[in-house]
Amino acid sequence: MSVPRLCWLMLLPSLLAAQSRDRNPHTSPKDVAEGRRMYALFCVFCHGMDGASGRGARLATTFRRHGTSDLDQYRVIANGVPGTEMSGHFLEEEEIWRILAFVRTLERATPHGACATGPGSVGAGRTSFVERGCLGCHSVGAEGSGRLGPDLNGIGAARTREHLRDSLSDPGRSVAPGYRTVLVTVRNGGGEVRGVLLTQDEYTVHLMDGGERIRSFRREELSGIQFPGGSNMPAYAALAGTEMDSLLSYLCSLQGGALR
């Protein structure tokens, strides 16, 4: 029997013990720091340091296909996911728990208290949000039907107050993935069509135009495809301080709900 195989057998009892634990026992800041180091050694190749830039499953989200509990996550790291590139790992129990402690910090894009409380009334912010017609392009969970901008349900858990302030005053600075603006020119006098890029491939381009119609084009039908950058959202840099504060407080209050 090879030495590693023997080691593996010797580790089994402790692993079984680990799997009977429900909660991660290694979550101190020191554990997180060590977990980050282990993540950079063993996980970064597929998942990226930010848990979002790799080709593996996105970790910078609270969504977990194989269970969200610490124990579920421990099992995924230890045993892998059959049929995918995620193999099980020959790591020690503490190492897996520490990696998990770090991964938990990725679940929120801004780990240090997203959307800290600030001045402004949530109720007044919500009124302003509705009256300014934001639901024309956005939705908030079941409320509103706008499709040209992202659903803002849970935005308060994913963004800082400062990020949201920037997005209101200069929407083009950071456009959410999947909401890129595209401008196509149709041949034979078909004119220009502007919209949100849905997808494109070797032969086709698909967008949602301002009327929320899905428009599909073959590349050969187009004389030009441009990505002007920026956002279709108007800038709200000129909002009075109190309205801006209230709007931010409302957005920060959107911590995600029952919709999945």
Binding site: S2, P4, R5, W8, R37, A40, L41, F42, V44, F45, G48, M49, S53, N79, G80, P82, G83, T84, E85, S87, G88, H89, F90, L91, Q200, D201, E202, Y203, F227
Partner: protein
């Protein structure tokens, strides 16, 4: 008794033996496809000429084999005597009726959990000799199967998978030996190529691709770094029967992006090694990327082309390397003849005209904050096959344009765990991140034509005597190009990423083309009305 014999012949298909002579001369069986790359010179060129640039618009699907897989499907089928043999990941094998796709038998292999592979539990195909098939497995075993039944004839451990060893490429049969090597360049393995006796599975020789103490090249490794030096073998080699030399590309040194712990050239990583096929003895080597720190494996196809270079008839080895340069070597001696970039590259000032050694530009090493370098980490091309058409005299290659940010990180070796010393992020900048099929002059690397692709591809190309180049795309298209001009003459959406290299065979003398895409294998041919009678 006579009745029984008649019955046996009527019920069971009669298989001919595939001989070494036929592997040497595949033109003797033009409707078959007997080795991973179609011939020992690795042309991936079919002599079949039914499908042409004129009639390719009449291509249609003849049958589909749906595999029950989630993994990447990278197989190149073999076809012999009307039967197609494929691997499905991780290491199942199916024998299919080549005319209809009906499954004749299937071998299902149990793979232990915690097999370590850098990029999926994949397999690229089989080798064949006599009535045997050979496969390398992700748990680093060499396996022989009866090609009539799928029964296991022998099964030998190449290395301990718990130390990060695996195997993914199609083996290569030479005479009475089957050659295969180990992957695991991201796990601190010490790479090697093995030769096994086809009858018994007994190991005939082993060549370590990382020079150890006392061996030539060991001075190119600092301290004990050779023990975890990587240099895996994960794409099928080539063979020149006249020289009796077999040529294999080797992978990156380990750890990938932190070269500080392995000072030196790190032989024979990121190289081609020319070995005596009987003994495994090293005849010569050429290192494309000394002390690689960008994960630029040299595991691309080593193609053997006899051609005029500089006014002299030469037996050359040509290869488009992951580091972005196209190389021409003398395959008898290893003499460097030529190198030129075939994609945008920003890491080498030049390749020395005499030695072939690159002059690395400053500021191109991986760093803590990330260093942007062309080509991208997956390279100017990768394991997907190029092709060579002796008729057009062109070398066809699927290329990947774009850059990556290369990060250096901590290098900590832990048996069976990743040992990479950093990571990367791809820079998917519009207009800068794309793919192409390019036709090069095989002697000079000069660009003859380009067919641009929307995404950098992971699919190889197939050339045919009918003057067609077949290629696949990331978004699931399979397409036919005019081999002379690169003009697209046909395409079809197969509904899944194409991460494999196409091949061609014949059913009752009529040409077919096969390609894996998504989780299925597609076999295409001309509409009946367009088929030759």
């Amino acid at each position: 008794m006579r009745g029984l014999l008649t019955l046996a012949v009527a019920v069971f298909p009669v298989f001919g033996q595939v001989t070494y002579e036929q592997l040497r001369d595949p033109a003797s069986r033009p409707g078959d496809w007997l080795t991973y790359s179609g011939n020992y010179a690795s042309y991936r060129h079919s002599p079949l000429r039914d499908i042409t640039a004129v009639n390719a618009s009449a291509l249609e699907i003849k049958w589909i084999y749906q595999a029950r897989i989630m993994e990447k499907f990278q197989t190149t089928p073999l076809v012999a005597d009307g039967v197609m043999y494929i691997t499905t990941p991780p290491n199942d094998v199916a024998a299919l009726d080549a005319a209809t796709g009906v499954k004749i038998w299937e071998y299902r292999r149990r793979i232990p959990s915690k097999v370590q592979t850098c990029c999926g539990q994949v397999n690229r195909g089989l080798a064949i000799l006599g009535d045997r098939l050979f496969m390398a497995t992700v748990d680093a075993h060499a396996v022989a199967l009866d090609r009539k039944t799928g029964r296991v004839l022998w099964d030998v451990e190449m290395a301990d998978f718990q130390l990060g060893y695996s195997a993914t490429h199609a083996p290569l049969v030479i005479k009475d030996k089957v050659l295969m090597g180990v992957a695991g360049g991201e796990y601190g393995i010490r790479g090697f190529l093995d030769a096994y006796d086809v009858a018994s599975g007994k190991r005939a020789w082993r060549f370590y691709t990382v020079a150890g103490p006392g061996e030539a090249g060991s001075e190119s490794w600092q301290g004990d770094s050779w023990k975890t030096g990587g240099a895996p073998i994960w794409i099928t080699g080539s063979y020149d029967p006249e020289l009796n030399l077999t040529y294999w590309g080797t992978g990156n040194p380990g750890p990938d992006w932190n070269g500080d712990v392995r000072q030196g050239d790190n032989l024979y990583s990121a190289s081609v090694v020319a070995l005596d096929s009987d003994t495994g003895r090293l005849k010569w080597h050429f290192q494309f990327t000394p002390h690689d720190v960008h994960d630029w494996d040299a595991t691309q196809i080593m193609m053997l082309v006899d051609q005029q270079v500089g006014g002299r008839a030469r037996k050359t080895l040509v290869t488009a390397n992951r580091n972005g340069f196209y190389y021409v070597l003398d395959r008898a001696t290893g003499e460097f003849l030529h190198a030129s970039p075939f994609v945008k590259q920003t890491w080498a000032k030049e390749i020395d005209g005499k030695t072939g050694r690159p002059a690395r530009l400053p500021g191109t090493l991986p760093s803590a904050q990330g260093t942007r370098v062309y080509p991208q980490v997956a390279g100017g091309t990768n394991w997907m096959s190029p092709a060579y058409n002796p008729g057009t005299g062109l070398f066809y290659v699927a290329v990947r344009e774009g850059s990556s940010l290369y990060y250096q990180g901590e290098a900590l070796y832990k048996p069976g765990a990743r040992y990479q010393g950093g990571f990367f992020n791809n820079e998917r900048v519009m207009e800068d991140w794309y793919g192409a099929v390019r036709a090069l002059d095989p002697a000079t690397g000069a660009l003859r034509w380009e067919h641009r692709l929307f995404q950098p591809p992971w699919a190889g190309v197939l050339s045919t005597a009918g003057g067609v180049v077949f290629a696949g795309t990331e978004d699931g298209y399979f397409k036919a190009l005019d081999a002379m001009s690169g003009r697209e003459v046909w395409h079809l959406n197969l509904g899944g990423r194409v991460i494999a290299s196409p091949m061609s065979f014949a059913v009752k003398g009529v040409q077919r083309v096969a390609i894996a895409a998504g989780s299925s294998l597609f076999v295409l041919g001309l509409r009946s009305a367009s088929e030759p009678r």
